[in-house]
Amino acid sequence: MFGLNSKDSTLLILVAVLALFAPFILNPFPEGSALAQFNAGYPDLMQRFVIFGIFAIGFNILFGLTGYLSFGHAAFLGVGSYAAIWMMKLLTLNVIPAIIMAIIFAGIFALVVGFISLRRSGIYFSILTLAFAQMSYALAYSVLTPITGGETGLQLKATDTPLLSNLGPTEIGRANLFGLDMRTSYELELGTWLFTFNTGYYIAAVCMLIGFYVSIRIFRSPFGMMLRAVKSNQQRLNYTGLNSKPYTLAAFVISGMYAGLAGGLMVAMDTQVGPERMFWTASGEVVLMTILGGVGTLIGPVLGAGMIKYMENIISKINDNILHQWFAFMPDGIEDFLVTIIHPFIGKGWHLTLGIIFMLVVIFLPGGLVEGGQRIGRMFGSGKKADADTGAADTKPAE
């Protein structure tokens, strides 16, 4: 299908099905039940899952294939976001031009940064990319305030008058796709379950599927082979008379464009940009997503992104009050004891939980979450199938 072998087609279809039914899959618990706290099927988080999934897929094209560890990828996301919001402020509230501009600007910026940074390899490369991203962040926060809005960032305002959109005098524009508001949702009640189907989410999901498809094609192409060659032994590659730089640069720009797409989509879903989006922790986050999920695997980065965003948005919202409700059926003493035990790991302690999970995953599942999936698959005696599901069979990190 679409020039993919059967294994990859299965994977793509699986991802498409997951994306299509995400509103169901992510909302397994009925409204009003104690476990509803763990539901993730609301528009904002679903959008974040796919957007950061795109970001991580793109990052994995660079890191997973070439082994070049960029520590400044958030800068491309940020540049894409700024480009997108300016398109919306100046030209049109339709998200398509905004997203296209986001990709273009991020691509150009990635070309510049990549051209310079790729003159070095290993950790020297990482620090160069980090330096560019940190400079972008610092400048966007301070002296570039007239363009970036500084600390308070940019939002759509009543004073914005995009050329192609007819807005009332005090009307604040809304991102749309040919008139279809990104925030419209269709809510489906099935018994006590409530499922939300959000326009923005599905648009982002389509983008992710396209991105995922392109990523599979790259992984399986001669170009992808060349990138893997760079990872396994760049010197030998150079000795054969091949100049690897154009290939790595292309990979760098492509992954920068993925970051730009993610940035553009973030603005399309939620019309706001702030400079923290480019801070080194944001760059670090995508590295962690990729490693957590499984470097060099197709689906891994998406899983890693989902995991981290889930922790950030769900665990951080559990508070003592909720714990008391969960354990209300127990005797008071035990209830308080359980709450005391769990308290450090929830709410403000979500970072702690995240840190522990990082450590546990990397200690016990060296290949990331994907390996976890494979092990579970093997446990049920169908190892082959698990490999196919994760697409990791022949893309294991070549370390």
């Binding site: 070095r120 950790i123 020297y124 160069l128 330096a131 702690l352 990082f358 060296p366 990190p397």
Partner: protein, 343 residues
């Protein structure tokens, strides 16, 4: 002129902190080949050793004083440190005030243990793993460590002043023949610089002039060969990890009077110290120290008002700009060795 001298002093002082942390990082890179993202957290733990000692020394017995009232109008709970009881208020108080210098002694065994435990308990399982895994696990560890500290000490900075004897500033101007009060520099910052110089020299002397150091240096150059010679290099590398932890920890202890410590100070320093290490060149100890001081001095100059007026925003980006320029002109940083962390 006075301004320039002052900024050089500032630069050396900032550089001391960078150099100490970078030195420890490089020791770990060089010996164990591990990218240790938890090194900033070790610095932070060192600083909290000082806080902990301060808390321990000011451990108090409390009693209700009926004559005073607290903010709610209830009888006030008055706390008196045990030390005041034991040694009298004056001596007791001055012991508490000296908690930061005393914390150096307190911190050394703790930091050695922290380093040892980290290496034996976690890092050693990651020598053969890809750098990506090392980054993930040490970053996870860094988060866990800082969250644990936050859980105990809160998120706010905690004041840990230097002993009164070291507060105030030294008048360099008078010494060098300038107008008095134009070049003054805080005593504690001078001590910090001297302390950093001492630690750095001792580490170098240790590696250069002891057999242990020689073996370690040999191991850094070629681990396998040293191993084949029948030397238990792993044990020595564990020691080096502990030493690196002590160096970072002491840097943290001594830093507390300069800026009140908080739980995220490690992360604040982490990225900068990586930049310092890489600019210095991977695997080079003198490189790390040199880069630390160089970036410190340049950062100080870039923060002068005249420079900012000339190039707005330069103070925001100077370190990264310098890093880019150096890495582009010198492929392996200032003194990097070929082949270390280049793939």
């Amino acid at each position: 002129m006075e301004a320039i001298i002052l900024q050089i002093l500032n630069g050396l002082d900032k550089g001391s902190a960078y150099a100490l942390i970078a030195l420890g990082l490089t020791l770990i890179f060089g010996t164990l080949g591990v990218v240790n993202f938890a090194h900033g957290a070790i610095f932070m733990i060192g600083a909290f050793c000082a806080v902990t000692l301060q808390r321990m020394l000011s451990a108090s017995k409390s009693f209700i004083d009926e004559t005073q009232t607290d903010f709610l109008g209830n009888p006030k709970k008055v706390e008196v440190p045990y030390l005041h009881d034991w040694f009298g208020p004056e001596v007791g108080q001055s012991i508490i005030e000296w908690s930061v210098p005393l914390a150096i002694l307190f911190a050394i065994p703790i930091m050695m243990f922290v380093g040892y435990a980290m290496e034996r308990g976690l890092i050693k399982h990651f020598y053969k793993r890809p750098h990506a895994d090392q980054i993930l696990v040490t970053f996870g560890l860094a988060i866990v460590l800082q969250e644990v500290i936050k859980a105990f000490y809160g998120a706010n900075p905690i004041p840990t002043p230097a002993p009164p004897a070291f507060t105030g500033a030294f008048d360099f101007g008078a010494l060098l023949g300038f107008d008095p009060n134009t070049i003054i520099y805080p005593y504690w910052r001078l001590i910090y610089f001297a302390f950093a110089a001492l630690v750095i020299t001792s580490v170098f002397a240790f590696l250069q002039f002891t057999t242990f150091g020689m073996v370690v240096r040999a191991g850094m150059a070629d681990r396998e060969t040293v191993g084949l010679l029948g030397i238990d290099i792993d044990k020595r590398f564990t020691m080096m990890f502990a030493i690196a932890a002590v160096v970072a920890g002491l840097a943290g202890v001594m830093y507390t009077p300069i800026n009140s410590p908080n739980y995220h100070m490690g992360m604040d320093f982490l990225v900068l110290s990586f930049v310092v290490v890489v600019v210095g060149g991977m695997g080079s100890l003198p490189g790390a120290v040199l880069a630390g001081f160089l970036l410190g001095v340049l950062e100080s100059f870039a923060s002068m008002a005249v420079v900012i007026d000339l190039v707005p925003g330069i103070n925001q980006i100077i370190i990264y700009l310098v890093a880019i320029v150096i890495l582009l002109t010198r492929p392996r940083g200032l003194m990097g060795r070929r082949g270390v962390m280049e793939d």
